[in-house]
Amino acid sequence: MNTLIYTACLGLFGLLAEIFNLRKYLIPILVLGLAVIFSLNLQTWNNPQTHFNGMLSDSNFSTAFSGLALFIMLIILILSGDFYTSTDDEKHISDYMAILMFTLCGALMMFSFSNMAMLFLGIETLSISLYVMAGSRRFELKSNEAGFKYFLMGSFASAFLLFGIALVFGVTGTFSIDGIGNYMRMHADKLDPLFIVGMLLMIFAMLFKVSAAPFHFWAPDVYEGAPSLITALMSTLVKIAAFAAFYRLLSSCFVFALGKAEIILTISCAATLLVGNLVALVQDNFKRLLAYSGISHAGYMMLAIISIQGSTDSALFLYSVGYAVASLAAFAIAITVFKATGTESISGFNGLAKKNPLLAASLTMAMLSLAGIPPFAGFFGKYFIFSEAFRNGWQNMVFVAIISSIIGVFYYMKVIVAMYSKPANEFEIKPTFAYQMVIAVCLIISIVLGLYPCVFTKLL
């Protein structure tokens, strides 16, 4: 709860910074602030409590994910220092920062909501600020298009969410997840059809938010169009937040009703896995490729969702961490390469190994981690999720996941092959210090997690 408030304060500070023109020091201060908040956040560990008479409630789940979110935002901030360099950006830097802070607020709400209203607000806070950020390159049509597409579909989807909430409210007469949970437990055998419909509508909306097929269409376009840094944010923080919220919602409100949604979830999961990987095969824009890979990763996380009865939160969390660090590293490198080469297509990576072996090696590690190859965190995330899903009897889904990850390896290797065996292009590629730091930290975390994952498996 405090985490949320402090973050909001940081956001406000960002806005005010414009007035006291602290632009220069803004990012450092924010980074510092986030670091402090991060440490504060840890205090809520193992003392669950509810705030605002049942609107929010801290739990280890929320704390863990909040920590992850804060970490991601920290990284994003560090990256943004060297990302927003054009004069136009300079002008708006404080706005951007403020909006990023509010995005984080939305995410934090989604982790710790205990009332539909908070869920709704969280999602909207997150989404609206992202609409803005996605469209923040005002003079680039691509950016506008991305922002607008995201906005249209996002608000469309949240309408469904709201309708679902309304129906559920109508049946249960409450917005608090405990109340709904109680209703569900009591009437698990004969649920009101309206309740089911409401649940399904909410599930659809959440599937949209996590960009699961067949509601994934927005993701590739938005990811491609948005500024790379925002893409990084979306593919990590937003996806994880959405999944966390999805998980929290289902586990607290609809666990026993999920029998009614099983097939939908299953189909969507399989579809997500296959679509994500298959279409990624034929991409040659790196951001778009990462977008599709993100979709496929959503598919793997869906495995944790469909096997929610077995309380798969720790697996989900581990996967999120692995995925987050890997893609942050990948994006950090990608941004550097984009800046240097001016192209976002994979050909920009050609011969990177010759020019900057270390960078190439790092991107290789990130890719391998995303592809789920030991000894990186990505592998363990995958393994735990598969194992959990298997334990809950989703053997066929696991098999599908295995097949699709075989497909997946192919396009991650495509990048690696480009770096190592294609002739080099002439651009000089050298990441700035901040980026080097970020890459190093992320990869180290990835490897450490790969070697000793129980730090997080014991967690939840």
């Binding site: 190994a353 295995i402 290797m413 690696i416 092959v417 065996s421």
Partner: protein, 487 residues
């Protein structure tokens, strides 16, 4: 504890190697691998000491909790089989490192660091007694060799190595599924080898698990028809990579058959053995026949190695003691011989710049010493008595004979065909009049001489005094047999 040290030496070495440059890194890796070898000898002596009390056990094996749920232990140890493979690996590594002297690749330090990393992974595969740990090492072993082949490889290496990588990774992912399947289908939720061999999975599931594992191994070994990645990869990879691949890495597959397939799903194995053995037999003859007309040196050796490992796999699946024992002995022998032939191929290609046997010839006139070493290695690989591979092949064929005499006769054709393609190759490359392409063939360098001499000595040593190796593997093959034979 000792096993852990065995595991750590290469790892540390590979990390150090990253920070060295030029010739120094080669020397360093050589020293490191030799130290490793020496240590292996020491471990061997410890292992041989008659008292198998707790002391020795604890000395050799190490089992600490790693991940609690799903339960994964860092469980490493040594039994006859693992020790044999470790010996093979550590015997070959110095030779492979040494083979790289007087050859200049760019970014040497990375290459050797990768080789040492691979060394680490291979040792890990052989000593890990927890399925999951084993799986991690198995996957880990793939990465360095992939990058070695990708960076220091020959023509169209990108596509070839990618095929190799995807192909093998596909197999291992299926194996991962198999492991998860095992884990949740065993009463004691653990992947430790002992537990897995203890508790019996219902035979209905065993068949499925069998295929999950077998595909992974069939691709790695490779068994026909999963072999098409191999000849291209062997011919396009740098020689040291090819040595690693053919000498040690493909033994991973064979070793895993014995460790993780037969004893764990005996019923499944029993159910599908006929098909598998048929596959291997066809593979043996098929590959040998193809090798007869091959004109590319490396491809020829690649196919010959397919034939040999096919025979080993068949012998293992014959499910009798001498088959298993012969298989183990033959792994060692084949590892040494195949490294030998590929090194000879490399020397020739490096000197003449051609790997087409029709454009070679008369080298024996120019370099009789090399010719002698080469013929010894060739004889080793056609399994002449008193060379290392004879005993293995003899026991394998005997095992197969007990399984099915006609099948053994069919597989025995390899005795003839092997002689055909090897002698044809030798005649075309070494004998005859000097071909215009090879007017100059400088004599062996010291490191080449050293490697070849060592290999030649090993070939005879294991051929004439196989007792230590046989004693090493006899008990374990008995055990595997007992575990994996369904009455």
């Amino acid at each position: 504890m000792l096993t852990l040290i065995l595991l750590l030496i290469p790892l540390i070495a590979s990390i150090i190697a990253l920070f060295l440059r030029g010739e120094l890194v080669k020397w360093f890796s050589l020293v490191a691998t030799i130290v490793q070898l020496a240590f292996t000898v020491y471990v061997f002596t410890v292992f041989k000491t008659p008292d198998t009390t707790e002391v020795t056990k604890n000395l050799l094996s190490l089992n600490i909790d790693w991940i609690n749920s799903p339960k994964i232990n860092f469980n490493i140890g040594l039994d006859g089989m693992s020790l044999l493979m470790v010996i093979l690996t550590n015997l070959l590594m110095p030779l492979i490192v040494l083979a790289g002297f007087n050859r200049n690749q760019e970014r040497t330090h990375i290459m050797y660091s990768l080789m040492l990393l691979m060394h680490f992974a291979l040792i890990g595969v052989f000593v890990s007694f927890d399925g999951f740990l084993y799986y991690i090492f198995w996957e880990l072993a793939l990465i360095p060799i992939y990058f070695i082949s990708l960076n220091w490889g020959g023509v169209n290496r990108a596509t070839v190595t990618l095929k190799f990588f995807i192909y093998t990774l596909a197999g291992s992912l299926l194996m991962l599924f198999g492991f998860i399947f095992l884990y949740w289908n065993t009463s004691s939720h653990s992947l430790s080898w002992v537990d897995l061999t203890m508790n019996h999975i219902c035979s209905c599931k065993q068949g499925f698990i069998f295929w999950m594992f077998f595909l992974a191994y069939a691709i790695k070994i490779p068994i026909i028809p999963f072999h098409t990645w191999q000849p291209d990869t062997y011919s396009s990879a740098p020689t040291q990579g090819t040595m690693l691949l053919s000498g040690i890495m493909l033994k991973m597959g064979l070793y895993s058959l014995l460790r993780w397939l037969l004893p764990i799903v005996p019923m499944g194995t029993a159910e599908y053995t006929p098909y598998v053995i048929a596959m291997c037999f066809i593979g043996v003859v098929y590959a040998s026949v193809i090798a007869i007309m091959q004109t590319d040196l490396k491809k020829l050796f690649a196919y010959s190695s397919i034939a040999h490992v096919g025979l080993i796999a068949a012998g293992i699946f014959a499910l009798n003691v001498q088959g298993i024992q012969g298989g183990l002995v033959q792994m060692l022998a084949h590892g040494i011989n195949v490294v030998g032939v590929f090194y000879c191929a490399d020397i020739i290609i490096n000197r003449t710049g051609s790997s087409d046997i029709n454009t070679l010839g008369g080298i024996r006139v120019l370099s009789p010493r090399f010719a002698t070493y080469f013929i010894i290695i060739v004889l080793g690989s056609v399994a002449l008595p008193l060379t290392n591979s004879f005993i293995g092949e003899f026991m394998l064929l005997l095992g197969l004979f007990e399984y099915n005499s006609w099948a053994a006769l069919f597989a025995g054709l390899t005795v003839i065909l092997g002689a055909v393609y090897m002698l044809r190759m030798y005649q075309k490359v070494m004998l005859g009049d000097i071909n215009e392409n090879v007017t100059v063939f400088e004599d062996l360098k010291w490191n080449e001489e050293l490697v070849l001499a060592t290999i030649a000595i090993l070939i005879f040593a294991f051929g004439i005094f196989p007792k230590p190796i046989l004693e090493l593997v006899a008990p374990i093959s008995e055990q595997i047999y007992r575990l994996s034979f369904v009455r």
